[in-house]
Symmetry: C2
Subunit: 189 residues, 2 copies
DNA sequence: TAGTAAAACTAACAATCGTTAGTTTTGTAG
DNA sequence: CTACAAAACTAACGATTGTTAGTTTTACTA
C-alpha cells in the first residue's frame, strides 16, 4: 500500500526526530546519523528536507480530510458523527503518532503551495466539525453552550492525543475510544 | 512589577516570533529586525538567545506552579478546585498568550539546568492535577472514568487555549471561564 | 563472472547561524 | 556645554546549514 522503500524509511525516521525537536532544529546530518549513513546519501532518495516535511504533513492532512468527508456525507445521527470523528483521530494517532507532531507544530514551515493546500484542508475540516456541532445544538441534541468552545475543546484534546497515547500504550484502542467518547461528550462530573 | 525595560521589550518581541515560527526557526537577526535594530545590539541587553527562551518559559512555569500550589493547599471542594485550575489557565492565557507557545512547543530547547527545572515543575503540576481528580473520583463527586483520560483531555484543552483565544477576543473573560467550566466539567451533550 | 543499477561515499560550496570586539551615536544630568 | 552611560552601530569570527558534484561500494541478474 505505502511505498515502503528506503525513502519511506527516511520519512519515518525524520518524523520521529521532528517530533522530538521540531523541523527547524533537526539537521540533515542528524537525520543521516539516525539512518546510519552520511547526509549527502539522503539525496539519492529524497529531493529536499522540505519534501520530507511536506510528505509527512500532507499525507496526514489528506487522511483526515477523507475521513471527515465520509462522515459528513453519511446519514448518521449527530452524536454518531461526533463519535466517528473521535474514532478517526484515535485511529490515525495509533498508526502515525510521530507524524502528527509535525502536523500540529511544523505546518507553518511548509512552503507556498503545500502551505496553502494544508491551510485549506484544515479550514474545511474545522468548518465541517463546526457545522456538525451547530446542527446538534440547533436540534437540541447537544447542550446549548458556545459552539466555538465546544469545537475548540474537543479538537484540542483530539489533536493532542499523539503526545499522550505513547505513554499509555497498555490501554486497549477500543476501550480508549469508548472512554474518550464518554469524557468528551458526557463530561467528567 | 515586571522589569519593563528594553530587555523585557526584546523578550516580548521574541515571544511573538517564537509563537509564529518556533524558537529554532527564529534568528537573532529576525528578532533584531522586529525591534528595528541590528542583531549585535541585542547583546547590550541580553546574554544569549537561550536566556530569552528560558526567561519566557521559566517565568510562566513558575506562575503555573504558584497558582497550583495555592489551589492544592486550599480547603475548597474538588469541583471548586477544578474550577480554579481552569480559571488559572485562562488568566495566564489572557495576560501572556504569546509566551505559552514557547512553553508548549519549545521547552525541549532549554539547556540542562533550566530543562531539568522545567520538567520537574511540569511533573509536579500534572501530579497535583491528577491527585485532585483521583480524590474526586474516589469520593464519587466525579464520574468514574479513566483518570488519565480525564486529566489528559482537560489539560490538553487548557494548554491549547493560547492558540484559540486570540481569534475570539470578543468573548468576555468571565463568560469564557463560565462556559469553559461547563463544557469541560459537564460535557457537551 | 561480468555488467548494472542502487545506494553509499568524500569533498566541498555558498549562505547563514549565534556571538564578540571595538567604535560611534544618542539622550540626560550637572 | 560637558561628561557619561546607555544603546546603537560596523565588521567580522568560527561553526553549521542544506545541498551539489563526482566517485566508489554494494548487491543482484544475466
Amino acid at each position: 500500500m505505502k511505498p515502503e522503500g528506503r525513502k519511506q524509511e527516511i520519512i519515518d525516521s525524520a518524523a520521529i526526530l521532528f517530533k522530538e525537536r521540531g523541523y527547524s532544529a533537526v539537521t540533515m546530518r542528524d537525520l543521516a546519523r539516525a539512518m546510519g549513513i552520511k547526509a549527502a546519501s539522503l539525496y539519492n532518495h529524497i529531493q529536499s528536507k522540505q519534501e520530507i516535511l511536506a510528505s509527512i504533513i500532507i499525507d496526514l492532512a489528506e487522511h483526515f480530510t477523507t475521513g471527515m468527508n465520509e462522515i459528513v456525507k453519511s446519514d448518521l445521527t449527530i452524536i454518531k458523527k461526533l463519535e466517528k470523528i473521535i474514532e478517526l483521530h484515535i485511529d490515525i494517532t495509533l498508526t502515525n503518532a510521530d507524524g502528527l507532531a509535525s502536523l500540529n507544530n511544523d505546518w507553518m514551515h511548509l512552503e507556498e503551495e503545500n502551505l496553502t493546500y494544508f491551510e485549506q484542508m484544515r479550514h474545511d475540516y474545522e468548518e465541517n466539525f463546526r457545522q456538525i456541532v451547530r446542527t446538534g445544538v440547533n436540534n437540541g441534541v447537544l447542550a446549548n453552550n458556545n459552539i466555538e468552545i465546544i469545537v475548540f475543546s474537543t479538537l484540542s484534546t483530539l489533536r493532542t492525543l499523539y503526545l499522550w497515547y505513547p505513554k499509555q500504550r497498555t490501554i486497549d484502542p477500543d476501550i480508549l475510544k469508548k472512554d474518550m467518547i464518554t469524557v468528551l461528550l458526557k463530561g467528567i462530573i
